[in-house]
C-alpha cells in the first residue's frame, strides 16, 4: 500500500529525528518549503513536535518518512490540516539531499500519498502550495496529476523580493480518470 518501486512511506520514528532535522535544514529545502524566515530549525523543536505528535496521535493525522528500499531516509511528507467535512487535505513533501533529487523519488512518494488519500482516507480533494521559483517541484506535481488552480501574487518574500505562490489541486474524479488511463 505504501511501498513503491524505489521508495516506501513509513511512520516517523524517534531515531529518525536527527536525520530528518538535517535533511529539513538543507538550504534548498528551507528556501522552497517555508514561508517563514528561512533559518534552520533546532533539533529540539523537532523533538518537542514528535513528543506532541505521539501524545496526541489518534490515527487521524498523517506524516510519513520517505525511505529508499534499502532503508536510507531521504525525506518526509505529510498533511497540513485535514478537513474531514469538506474531504480535503493540504499535503507537503521534501527530499533532503541534492543526490536524491531529480530521480523521481519525490514524485513516486507523492503518488503513493495521493493513492492513500483517495483510496484509504476517503478524500475528495488534495491540494498543495508551491513557490513560483520551484520549477522542479511544479513539474513533479503535474506528473502526479495536480493542476495549477491559480496564483497567489506576492505572498512570500525571499532573496530580496516578493514571489508568487501557486495553488495546485487534484480532485477525486480527476484521479479516477487517470487511474482508468
Amino acid at each position: 500500500m505504501l511501498t513503491g518501486k524505489n521508495i516506501r512511506l513509513r511512520e516517523v520514528r524517534k531515531e529518525d529525528l536527527p536525520v530528518i532535522n538535517e535533511l529539513g535544514n538543507e538550504e534548498e529545502v528551507i528556501i522552497n518549503l517555508t514561508t517563514r524566515i528561512p533559518a534552520p530549525t533546532p533539533l529540539g523543536v523537532d523533538e518537542s513536535w514528535y513528543e506532541d505528535y505521539t501524545k496526541k496521535y489518534d490515527g487521524n493525522f498523517v506524516q510519513f518518512v520517505i525511505e529508499k528500499l534499502d532503508g536510507t531516509v531521504i525525506g518526509k511528507c505529510g498533511t497540513m490540516g485535514l478537513d474531514w467535512k469538506d474531504a480535503c487535505t493540504t499535503v507537503w513533501i521534501f527530499i533532503g539531499k541534492p543526490e536524491n533529487r531529480g530521480k523521481g523519488y519525490g514524485t513516486e512518494a507523492l503518488k503513493l500519498f495521493v493513492d492513500f488519500a483517495f483510496m484509504e482516507m476517503n478524500l475528495n480533494r488534495v491540494q498543495l502550495l508551491v513557490f513560483d521559483f520551484n520549477k522542479r517541484a511544479i513539474s513533479s506535481y503535474e506528473k502526479v496529476g495536480f493542476v495549477v488552480e491559480g496564483i497567489y501574487k506576492q505572498e512570500v518574500y525571499r532573496n530580496g523580493s516578493y514571489h508568487d505562490v501557486y495553488q495546485m489541486g487534484i480532485l477525486r474524479k480527476e484521479y479516477d480518470m487517470r487511474q482508468r488511463g
Binding site: 469538506d86 475528495n124 480533494r125 488552480e149 496564483i151 497567489y152 512570500v156 489541486g169 480532485l171
Partner: protein, 183 residues
C-alpha cells in the same frame, strides 16, 4: 477619518453586542456564507467565552476583530484579521453583517473599505486577502467594489447543500490600493 465611514463606524466589540452576535451566528443563512463548518447554533455563553479568549490576545499584529455599527450605534456584525503573516506582510481578513435588513445596502462594503485603509495605512500590509464561497455572489460584488480581484479558485473545496462548491480567493495589493485611492 480612521474607523469612520459613510454608513458605518468600526469600534471595539462590547459585552452588549454579544446577544446580537449569538443570534446572528445562529442564523444558518448568515453562517452558510461565513464558515467552512456546518451551521451550529451559538449560545450567549459561547459568545462570552469567545470574547474572553479574544481579549487575551494582546498581539494585534496576529489578528483582531472590530465591531461594525451604524452611524446611530446599532451593532451589525464584525470584521477583522484572522491571520497576519508578518514577515510576508499578508493579512487574511473576514467580515460579516449579521442583520439581514442591512444586507445588500453597502454597509459591508463601507466597513471593508475602512478595514483596508487601516491595514494599508497603519499596519504596512503589502497584500490583503480573503476567501469567499462561490455561491455568495453578493459578497463577491462587494469585495470587487473594494478593489479585490479573484486570484485563485480552489475547486470543490467546500461541502454544502449536499454538494461541493468552489472557494474563491480574492486579494488586493498595496500598490493597487494606493493607485485606486489616488495617493
Amino acid at each position: 477619518m480612521l474607523f469612520q465611514g459613510q454608513l458605518v463606524n468600526l469600534r471595539a466589540i462590547k459585552d452588549e453586542d454579544l446577544k446580537s452576535a449569538a443570534e446572528y451566528m445562529s442564523d444558518p443563512e448568515i453562517m452558510y456564507n461565513l464558515d467552512f463548518d456546518a451551521p451550529f447554533p451559538q449560545s450567549l455563553e459561547d459568545q462570552k467565552h469567545w470574547m474572553e479568549e479574544d481579549r487575551k490576545n494582546h498581539d494585534r499584529y496576529k489578528g483582531f476583530n472590530l465591531a461594525i455599527e451604524t452611524k446611530d450605534g446599532k451593532y451589525l456584525g464584525s470584521c477583522g484579521v484572522n491571520h497576519m503573516d508578518k514577515k510576508n506582510k499578508v493579512a487574511q481578513v473576514g467580515i460579516f453583517i449579521g442583520d439581514k435588513e442591512y444586507l445588500g445596502k453597502g454597509y459591508g462594503t463601507d466597513a471593508m473599505k475602512l478595514l483596508l485603509e487601516y491595514l494599508f495605512d497603519e499596519f504596512n500590509a503589502n497584500k490583503v486577502k480573503l476567501g469567499v464561497f462561490s455561491f455568495n455572489k453578493r459578497a463577491i460584488r462587494s469585495y470587487e467594489k473594494c478593489g479585490f480581484k479573484v486570484e485563485v479558485i480552489q475547486r470543490e473545496a467546500l461541502y454544502r447543500f449536499g454538494t461541493y462548491h468552489d472557494v474563491i480567493n480574492m486579494a488586493i495589493m498595496k500598490e493597487e490600493y494606493y493607485r485606486d485611492r489616488g495617493v
